[in-house]
């Protein structure tokens, strides 16, 4: 059974997670320095989360379809994303086995992996708060 019941749930959780990441000065500084626009494309359920750091000043988080053209796209099942944020995904294995598909200069996005690791501690709180709200 998939973790997120529908796209709204998925968007709500991911939006909240990225908003909290944006409130962490260390993570924010490094994300802005990348000047990347990364779009996460999820399936089962469908979802789109776009993180726009292109101006290096402000990180904008948006969900759903976007006109903005991402620099890097990362596609995966929403359950893979859930496991990732719990720190349970072996990223090299997920790439080798095709569970994660990337499009664009993936090298840039990979440099952000260590940067966003502290968010693994934030995610369980986001999930528990979300469950409390929706229960």
């Amino acid at each position: 059974m998939q973790f997120f019941a529908n796209s709204d749930e998925l968007h709500h959780v991911m939006n909240e997670l990225w908003m909290r990441i944006g409130r962490d000065p260390d993570m924010l500084e490094k994300l802005l320095a990348s000047k990347l626009i990364v779009q996460f494309q999820y399936r089962e359920p469908e979802g789109r989360v776009t993180i726009d750091c292109s101006d290096g000043i402000e990180m904008r988080v948006s969900t759903g379809e976007q006109l903005l053209k991402p620099i890097v796209e990362m596609s995966m099942k929403a359950d893979v994303a859930h496991e990732f944020w719990l720190g349970k995904v072996n990223v090299p294995f997920a790439i080798v086995s095709g569970k994660i598909v990337s499009r664009g200069p993936v090298q840039k996005a990979l440099t952000l992996l260590p940067v966003i690791k502290p968010a693994f501690d934030i995610y369980p709180n986001v999930i528990s708060q979300f469950k409390t709200v929706t229960a």
Partner: protein, 384 residues
């Protein structure tokens, strides 16, 4: 045991003189008109006569202007030629640059559109045209790998393409085609193969029993044959062993990944044009020392299996492996420091740029130990 996926999409054929059967293999793959991609020194030196004779009764077109550091412009030029000539299969004869170029040309030719649209990992989801790879060096493993890199000189970056569909359909291993390789390149490419084997073996989160076997045997074959292949290039047995070892290590790394040594070497190649094999040979001992505190057991096991150590103590066996690599490099005449390989003195700005390149190299993700920017900087300084 690690979870693993192990692909060998490429059919591998080895024989002395196997290159002369390239055309037959192309026909088996239902090719009607072949695009042959190679480089000028190989073509003009007459080294490809045995391969090309087979194509006398088959329509084909030859492109021989692939530079040693191939780029997007070269790929687009070849793809345009192939479309005009209506080629339906590709033959790549050469080293890593030729084979990587051919893989990216295959994407353009099969899928059309802009090349930049296809960079990434697992981003190609359909079968490409048949591609036959005939390596003339023993080191890159590109003849069996599922990745390709070409430069975008406009942006000053390397573009990475990774998909199981990129792997050549067939790899033809003919040791006779490697005898013209000069000693220095034989040694450097051989150390590239050894680095693939060692880094794949310790890529602890992605290796498997399949890749382990390929790594240990290929490393042993390099230790046993590289000196002879370097000093006596006409020794066909040594050339054969090296060619097969290189392909085995290629199968291993395309499944398990490489590590920090490759990340450092790629950056040095991008910034200073340092030969990939030479850079690997210089960084390899430093990479092992860096990883030693968490991977000594793996290095030690490898050292025992390739026959360079009998010690039961992991640290001693790893030290034996380091000594064996050092001696192999010295015996093959390879420089041991970056400064001896023509790299100018590294200033702060150089190091900063190199560090950015290395930490963003996908190879680093497979390294058994996390590398900080400071770690990378120290590795450059030690290797200089």
């Amino acid at each position: 045991m690690n979870p693993f996926v192990f692909h060998v999409p490429t059919k591998i054929a080895f024989a002395e003189g196997a290159g002369s059967s390239t055309c037959e293999i192309v026909k088996e793959l239902a090719g009607n008109k072949a695009l042959i991609i190679t480089d000028k020194p190989l073509l003009e030196g007459g080294y490809l006569t045995s391969v090309l004779e087979g194509f006398e009764d088959m329509p084909h077109v030859i492109f021989s202007d692939v530079p040693s550091d191939s780029d997007v412009d070269c790929v687009n030029t070849i793809a345009e030629l192939a479309r005009t000539e209506e080629c339906d299969c590709i033959v790549a004869i050469g080293g890593g640059s030729v084979m990587d170029t051919a893989k990216v040309v295959n994407i353009c030719l099969t899928l059309g559109g802009e090349i930049l649209e296809y960079q990434g990992l697992n981003n190609i989801a359909e079968q490409l045209l048949p591609l036959v790879a005939v390596p003339t060096t023993a080191g890159t493993g590109s003849e069996v790998s599922m990745v390709a890199m070409v430069k975008d000189h406009t942006e000053g970056k390397k573009l990475l393409f990774g998909s199981r569909y990129l792997a050549p359909s067939v790899a033809i291993l003919d040791p006779l085609l490697t005898v013209s390789l000069p000693p220095k390149l034989t040694a450097a490419t051989g150390l590239d193969a050894l680095t693939h084997a060692i880094e794949s073996y310790v890529a602890v989160i992605s290796n498997s029993v399949f890749t382990d076997s390929l790594c240990t045997d290929s490393a042993r074959m390099v230790f046993e044959n590289l000196r002879t292949a370097t000093k006596n290039g006409a020794d066909i047995e040594a050339r054969s062993q090296m060619l097969v070892a290189s392909t085995m290590a290629g199968v291993a790394f395309t499944n398990s990944g490489v590590g920090v040594v490759h990340a450092l070497a790629h950056s040095m190649g991008a910034k200073f044009g340092t030969h990939h094999g030479i850079a690997n040979s210089i960084f390899l001992p430093h990479g092992i020392l860096f990883n030693m505190d968490i991977a000594a057991e793996r290095y030690a096991r490898l050292a025992r299996m390739v026959g360079v150590s009998k010690s039961t103590k992991d640290l001693t066996a790893t030290k034996d492996l380091l000594d064996a690599i050092e001696q192999l490099c010295i015996d093959c005449g390879l420089p041991r420091r970056l400064r001896d390989a023509g790299v100018p003195e590294l200033n702060n700005s150089d190091i900063e740029e190199l560090v950015v390149l290395a930490v963003s190299d996908p190879a680093i993700m497979f390294n058994p130990k996390d590398c900080s920017e400071k770690d990378i900087q120290e590795l450059y300084e030690r290797a200089y």
